[in-house]
């Protein structure tokens, strides 16, 4: 069976936090630098917040991969909702020892253990999707950060409630707050084109005009996750036409019809 080039193109836009897919934009590079510099300061916690799809997980993932060989760093990409499991994973991260399934970590014991390491070690934990943690667990995270042995970089979705959590629980401990925002049309243009060029799809990159970017930005509001989803759908349709009705996708520009079809498919525009 014939394989379309659009199959590879659409896969570029599969949403993932793989550090290989990290696209350096002015804003993301700046935020990443701020985060890196913050890690060297005598902080307790760093808060990374923004709306879903603004690249928080991506930055956290990149930070982990960049620093994992030079620092003691642990990345919890999925939230651990069980307190028992969370404390166990923290202890394992600090002690580098496996705890048997039938045993649990005593929080007071963990605190004392951390205090005993003060001035000797500095262990970093990257916690994604912290809005899912319970308040009790967040309080324990706060107490652990007070030991100054464990540093936490946490991400929160920017909603009213989550901002409240940030204010109430962490305002005295959070040293650095980094807010991630949606991309502007110009940034989105660079983002899409860099992604295509990274995989050497120069021709397809040139097919995307400013007008297309404007349309994409209007639909996705500059959200990276939404943009990935949109472009995946566009090239999915292209793939179908390429395989079954190639006469419909000729030309040096992206088909407006296909763009609109993808927007209808996702629900950006109503049919």
């Amino acid at each position: 069976m014939k394989r379309s080039k659009y199959s590879d193109i659409k896969n570029i836009f599969i949403d993932s936090v793989d550090q290989e897919n990290f696209v350096e934009l002015d804003s993301t590079t700046y935020n990443y630098q701020v985060l890196e510099e913050s890690l060297d300061k005598p902080l307790k916690m760093i808060l990374l917040f923004g709306r879903p799809g603004t690249g928080k997980s991506m930055i956290l993932n990149k930070l982990y991969h960049d620093l994992k060989n030079s620092r003691e760093i642990h990345y919890f990409d999925a939230p651990i909702l069980s307190e028992k499991e969370f404390l166990k994973r923290i202890y394992e991260g600090i002690s580098s020892r496996k705890i048997p399934q039938n045993m649990r970590v005593n929080f007071d014991g963990l605190l004392k253990f951390c205090q005993s390491l003060r001035g000797k070690r500095e262990i970093m934990f990257l916690l994604d999707e912290c809005q899912l943690y319970s308040e009790a667990l967040m309080e324990k995270i706060r107490l652990l950060s007070d030991t100054r042995v464990v540093k936490f970089v946490i991400t929160l979705h920017k909603t009213e409630n989550e901002e409240l959590i940030a204010k109430e629980h962490f305002k005295t401990r959070i040293w650095e707050v980094i807010e991630l925002k949606n991309a502007t049309p110009e940034e989105l243009n660079i983002y899409i084109k860099k992604k295509l060029l990274q995989k050497s799809f120069v021709e397809v990159s040139n097919m995307i005009t400013k007008k297309d970017i404007k349309f994409i930005h209007t639909c996705t509001k500059g959200n990276f996750r939404e943009t990935n989803k949109f472009l995946y759908t566009i090239f999915n349709i292209y793939e179908y036409y390429d395989m079954y009705k190639p006469e419909k996708i000729g030309g040096v520009k992206l088909s407006k019809k296909i763009l609109e079809m993808a927007a209808i498919k996702i629900g950006y525009i109503d049919d």
């Binding site: 759908t233 999915n236 349709i237 179908y240 079809m261 209808i264 498919k265 109503d270 049919d271």
Partner: protein, 252 residues
């Protein structure tokens, strides 16, 4: 793989909706523009009609009484106008009679006019009774003064007029002297005295006319015309215009 058939159907539906939307917006816009224009036009008409009706209402009230009378007159007039071309036969006998009547009427008018002119000439005499008495050496009460011939340019008359002019410098007197010289055919003196009168009073219509006429008589038509034209531009005097035409006609 994506189901493009279903998606295409949805896209066509979307496009149709978009077109309908664009079309509806255009129609609404057109209606608004047309409606606005119509309302404005109507409003404008109403205002002008309103003003007109107010004016005409007042006019009508005034004219209403007259209208009954004028309508009948107009009807008569219009009847004549309408009937005139419908008569193809001309009664030659009655036309001859009408012609005779008309000629008589015109002759009568001319006679009346010439009489009026004579009366006017008499009124333009400037000499007082006392002056006349001096001229003829008779008393004021004498009945014979009426028979004295005033048209003569006797030296006595000229001397008295000149003396009088020397005393009061009245432009009217200078003009009278100019006229007397002109009538006597002494155009050089008439030109000179007309100029004197004109120097004293530029608005004195006859001073210009006598001056120009004298010049014309002395063979200076072009100069006379220039002066008269210049005077006519400022005064719009019908006499000056008539004289210009006369001199022009003569020179042609």
């Amino acid at each position: 793989m994506i189901n493009t058939k279903e998606l295409e159907k949805r896209w066509y539906r979307y496009k149709a909706k978009s077109l309908i939307l664009v079309f509806s917006i255009l129609v609404v816009l057109l209606i608004l523009i047309y409606g606005g224009y119509y309302i404005l036009y109507k409003l404008d008409l109403n205002i002008s009609f309103g003003e007109q009706s107010k004016q005409t209402a007042v006019m009508d009230a005034k004219v209403d009484k007259e209208s009954n009378e004028t309508v009948t007159e107009e009807k008569r007039e219009s009847d004549e106008v309408m009937l005139a071309p419908t008569i193809p036969i001309v009664d030659l006998e009655s036309e001859k009679i009408n012609d005779k009547k008309e000629r008589r009427r015109v002759a009568e008018k001319k006679r009346v006019k010439s009489k009026e002119k004579l009366v006017k000439v008499k009124a333009s005499t400037y000499l007082t009774a006392q002056e006349l008495a001096v001229v003829n050496g008779s008393s004021l009460n004498s009945r014979e003064t009426k028979k004295i011939n005033l048209h003569g340019t006797s030296n006595n008359y000229m001397n008295i007029m000149k003396k009088k002019f020397e005393q009061n410098k009245n432009p009217r007197e200078a003009l009278l002297i100019a006229k007397a010289y002109y009538k006597a055919g002494n155009y050089e003196n008439s030109e000179k005295w007309a100029l004197k009168a004109n120097n004293l009073d530029k608005k004195l219509d006859e001073s210009w006319l006598i001056f120009a006429s004298s010049q014309e008589k002395l063979g200076k038509q072009q100069e006379a015309l220039k002066i008269l034209i210049a005077y006519y531009r400022t005064s719009k005097s019908p006499k000056a215009k008539a004289l210009i035409d006369k001199i022009k006609a003569k020179s042609i």
